[in-house]
Amino acid sequence: MPTKLVLFYSQQQRGWSETWYAASAGDVRNVIQSALSDSVRSKCVSFRHPLTYLIGARATAIGTAKQSYSEQFGNAYHGLSLTVGQSTPDVASTDCVLAVDGIQTGRKRMYIRGLNDDDVKRSSDGEDVPSASLRTGLANYLNAMRIAGFGLRILVQPPNGGLSWTSCLRVIPVTGDASHADVITNDAVVNPIVKNGYVRFSRPPFNDLPGFPTTAKVIDVNPGGNNGVRISYFLREQAPVSTKYMQVTAVAYDYPAIAAVSAAATSTVSNPLIIERFSEHKTGRPFGLLRGRARSKVRAL
């Protein structure tokens, strides 16, 4: 059963998360207490600024039996990167975008936050250069997660992974009630769109369908004899919405393991660490007046 792991970090008044996946990880409680061992937890945060803490983690089984387990770590795990001079972050905090590759396919970009300013220096060529200890720490983090069984989640379209494309179903209206939405299509839904599979909707009209998922799990196909798929979505005012420009196609998730990573710029046995860019952000809430990066959108009803 696929498992999603979310790691929670905090640095003074800021907080963020990093997400990993596993194709199958067993009981989610064991994921936190065993797979995410003390050593792995340390490697997740030790290369960061000393005021960056790994405060907790949650693991969720996202198959048919959806269970979740979360745990707080208190102040047990924090950055150990030595800081020269200052003892607190200044107004800017250093972050980087890390490219993480699957063994055979797939690339995920991770936003690694809470780094030590001293670990990134701008060279005379204008290039941001990470310190050797930062490279080693990042490589240790990725390799620790790889060994613990965590990797990427990638969207596969078409779901069979081949070259043939599945047909797109044109959506006519979206009707629904308080628990789900029926996406009525022109044509009847057939394989590979199946119950408990996933579909992707192209260009949902968010003005008419606020919060409509671009990717959703299929609860039922051709519900009640009507062509289309049923997904979980609360249709506001339960009034049908005609959608002219939306199509539905079948997709699937794959959970490839990540490749071993070397801190060195070149290696004959492992992939080199790929840091795409560095950046600096102000401390405090990252999106102006919005409260963090919650995925749910709050609306007045």
Partner: protein, 261 residues
């Protein structure tokens, strides 16, 4: 139970045998000292996995998420016996993971609360103001509502009900306040501790007698037999009475008392 950034209310399914029945589920923030769930469960915040919601899943539905401030729906006990904000755990592991059954027994609640007894007892909420004023008007007659003169807190402890002399006596000791000067029925100027005794039968109203005990531990005779009844059972008794001096002591078991001279 989970990590969230903003608290909200959403409909959720709690019963695995009633998939069409939902009820509001409100998220609240707790302190860092609150221990986490000891096992995995199905009632996690689906804000993290909004594309994984199924219609027949126990737990949150795909309904609208109405923002809430995160304040708990009832006062939480602050610190437990181990210095941990242990709020208690209601329900079995099976109920948390698979959902409850509609035939499962429902735990009792703490008196004067809507909090289940499987949770730690919430702190008492003082009851004053309008309710006491109303009782004054209905019960004491002679007393005028004078809120704010003096408030005393009495712990509600059913263990204080004892069987004595053929009746149940529920005693609530008011020992944090001394009435100096002339007590209601004594001219000797002693300092009295007023102890309230509610002589009641377990199932119906009974008379209230007000006794006074001096500093030597001697009980005086009953002072001004009750002008009002104890309503309801001993644990939920509501009463009021007047003393010869015109003072009133009013309230319910476990509530804050208003005392007027």
């Amino acid at each position: 139970m989970d990590f969230i950034r903003s608290a909200y209310v959403v409909d959720a399914r709690f019963y695995r045998d009633l998939p069409d029945v939902t009820a509001p589920m409100q998220w609240s923030f707790v302190t860092d000292k609150t221990p986490g769930m000891p096992f995995a469960h199905a009632f996690w915040s689906k804000t993290w996995d909004i594309d994984e919601i199924d219609d027949d899943d126990v737990g949150e539905t795909a309904g609208p998420r109405t923002w809430k401030g995160g304040t708990p729906p009832f006062p939480l006990p602050l610190v437990g016996p181990l210095g941990i904000d242990d709020l208690g755990l209601c329900g079995s592991k099976e109920q948390w993971q698979l959902g409850a059954l509609s035939t499962d027994p429902v735990p009792d609640v703490w008196p004067n609360t809507q909090v289940k007894r499987c949770c730690r007892r919430p702190p008492e909420i003082d009851r004053g103001g309008v309710k006491i004023g109303a009782i004054l008007a209905n019960q004491c007659g002679q007393c005028a509502a004078m809120p704010g003169l003096l408030f005393l807190s009495i712990a509600a402890d059913p263990g204080q009900c004892t069987f004595m002399d053929g009746t149940y006596l529920c005693r609530w000791k008011v020992d944090a306040w001394y009435w100096t000067g002339v007590p209601p029925n004594s001219a000797d100027g002693k300092t009295w501790t007023f102890r309230l005794f509610c002589a009641s039968t377990p199932d119906e109203s009974a008379s209230l007698q007000w006794y006074a005990q001096d500093t030597d531990g001697n009980f005086g005779s009953a002072i001004n037999p009750a002008a009002a009844d104890c309503l309801g059972n001993a644990l939920g008794a509501v009463w009021g009475f007047s003393s010869p001096s015109g003072g009133c002591i009013l309230g319910t078991l476990g509530s804050t008392w208003l005392v007027s001279p």
